[in-house]
């Protein structure tokens, strides 16, 4: 479904990502782990088009999307959440979801004016469904900045799902969560896979990564140093070295 081929990103002299090859198959959950600064978020940002790529290409459903403008990648079926939550605090919970529902309306062939100035009943019903998914139906008219941290995380996930994506990029969704919240998130992620979504999960929290992923790729200094099932990756000496340093062996 998603294939990164020789993906490379330089920021000036900094080589943030070097020649990354990665295939994520349909309906699977791929974990992306690595120490801070290893290129995980850069990978997500390249797939979403926040940064232009230096070399290599991104294939999505067999199509080269490396040059697709950022705002069109959502209607291709790629949605994301952000490492540090980036909601629109001035807008209400409902409004945050409402704009995100625009991409599926485009897919359903709603005319331009209707999409931007009106909006269908189906879209309204779907926003209602998302509110219930996120457990925020009673707070629909609340400003997003008034939500608690956990609620904001749930809203951001719902917002990413609003576009009905095929591929979901989760950038450290468990950061700052307690065990209870992580377990809740784990259930949600597994439920999404059951629905057939493909997920790329960038995460530091091992309880989550090891619990839900089918495959894990490990980055270190912008290079992929290992890939395999959670059990294989845990046994890999290079991975242990990257995380713990040579002394720990």
């Amino acid at each position: 479904m998603l294939a990164l081929e020789g993906l490379t990103k330089h920021f000036g002299g900094v080589q943030a990502l070097q020649d990354l090859n990665l295939k994520v198959s349909k309906g699977s959950i791929m974990g992306l782990i690595g120490p801070n600064g290893s290129g995980k978020s850069t990978t997500v940002n390249l797939i979403c088009g926040v940064f232009g790529i230096t070399r290599g290409r991104i294939l999505f459903d067999g199509e080269d999307i490396s040059r697709v403008p950022t705002h069109l990648r959502l209607s291709q079926g790629i949605a994301r959440t952000f490492q540090n939550i980036r909601l629109f605090g001035q807008l209400t919970v409902w409004q945050n979801l409402w704009v995100a529902q625009n991409a599926p309306e485009q897919k359903h062939g709603e005319p331009f004016l209707r999409r931007w100035f009106g909006g269908s009943r189906r879209a309204q019903a779907q926003v209602q469904g998302l509110l219930e998914f996120a457990g925020l139906a009673h707070k629909a008219q609340e400003q997003a900045s008034n939500l608690s941290f956990g609620e904001q995380r749930r809203l951001e996930l719902a917002r990413a799902l609003a576009s009905q994506p095929k591929l979901l990029l989760l950038d450290e969704p468990a950061a700052g969560m307690n065990m209870e919240e992580i377990n809740d998130l784990k259930q949600r992620v597994l439920a999404l896979r059951a629905e057939g979504k493909t997920i790329l999960l960038v995460e530091h929290v091992m309880e989550l990564v090891m619990g839900v992923t089918d495959q894990i790729a490990v980055l270190d200094f912008g290079r992929k140093i290992a890939q395999g099932s959670p059990a294989e990756v845990q046994q890999n000496p290079q991975v242990r070295e990257a995380y713990l340093g040579t002394q720990a062996r």
Binding site: C48, H71, L74, L91, F117, Q143
Partner: protein, 302 residues
């Protein structure tokens, strides 16, 4: 109604267009110091159309506002990628360019025996349409407020649509807005064109009420005022900038107690508000609270 009151109210109405044009860009996250340019372009454009070409007022105003909108859209193409200070300086530079070009613009033609047209820095006299057609000051004031009502109503409706929400999203944070499928560059150009048209309506009204315009009127202070009105009145609703204009022109200028000190008081007011209420009196939180209260009392009434 006394002539003085009509004069003040007309002034408030015309400057409100400038404030609203700056507001549209502020909501989208851009601080423009150049909205006076579009005010000027339309003032000159519509004045030339009615006084020199003999066009009717409505067509002249349409033409002036369209010119201003087009100019604003053209400026937005290269500046849409600029943020903060860089955008502010670019728009200021453009506005000064327009003002200096108008100082060089000398083009007069013979209309019924008199030479009429812009005379460089000496200005453009005899934009006499409303006097030639016996439109009274009250009628013109009603025209100003009719158009203002349309603009405020239109903006308020637009802000409830996905397009309006997308503009606010861009104002808050561009990267997630783009990740949610909003074409940020196109939206910014749209917002700029809209702001140019709104400033243009004000400029056309201004030229025809005052009958005499000169480039020096459209200096940066005019733009700074337009910008400050939104910041004082609030960015939560299109009514905010109107409140700002009313506070400044309606209150500070009319209450003669401040005569001569108006700009000092105004400057202090802007500084104070930016510190205690950075998004103005009617900011998003306040507007949201008011709207919710209205909805709730509506529910009770039913």
């Amino acid at each position: 109604m006394s002539d003085y009151l009509i004069g003040v109210l007309s002034n408030i109405g015309m400057i409100a267009f400038l404030a609203l044009s700056a507001y549209v860009l502020l909501v989208t996250g851009s601080i423009s110091f150049g909205q006076q340019a579009y005010f000027a372009i339309s003032a000159y454009g519509s004045g030339i159309a009615t006084a020199m070409w003999g066009w009717p007022l409505w067509l002249g105003m349409l033409w002036g506002a369209a010119l201003a909108g087009l100019a604003a859209a053209l400026v937005a193409v290269p500046t849409a990628r600029l943020h903060g200070l860089y955008f502010a300086v670019a728009t200021l530079a453009f506005a000064e360019m327009v003002r200096l070009l108008l100082q060089m613009l000398t083009w007069q033609i013979d209309v019924d025996g008199t030479l009429i047209g812009p005379m460089g820095s000496e200005g453009f006299r005899e934009i006499r349409y409303i006097y030639a057609h016996d439109i009274s000051a009250v009628q013109f004031m009603l025209l100003i407020y009719g158009l203002l009502g349309l603009v405020v109503g239109g903006l308020t409706l637009m802000e409830r649509t996905r397009l309006g929400l997308a503009l606010r999203m861009i104002g808050e944070d561009e990267i997630p807005a783009e990740a949610l499928g909003v074409n940020v560059a196109a939206c910014k150009i749209f917002a700029a064109a809209l702001s140019g048209i709104i400033a243009g309506i004000g400029g056309a009204l201004y030229a025809h009420l005052i009958t005499y315009i000169e480039p020096a009127l459209f200096n940066v202070m005019l733009g700074v005022h337009g910008l400050a009105y939104g910041l004082i009145g609030g960015l939560g609703t299109a009514v905010g900038p109107l409140l700002g204009v009313v506070l400044d022109i309606g209150f500070l200028e009319s209450v003669r107690a401040f005569a001569g000190y108006r700009m000092i008081v105004f400057g202090g007011l802007v500084a104070l508000l930016l510190i205690v209420r950075p998004r103005g009196l009617l900011d998003e939180v306040t507007v949201h609270r008011i709207v919710r209260r209205l909805i709730r009392s509506d529910h009770v009434a039913h």
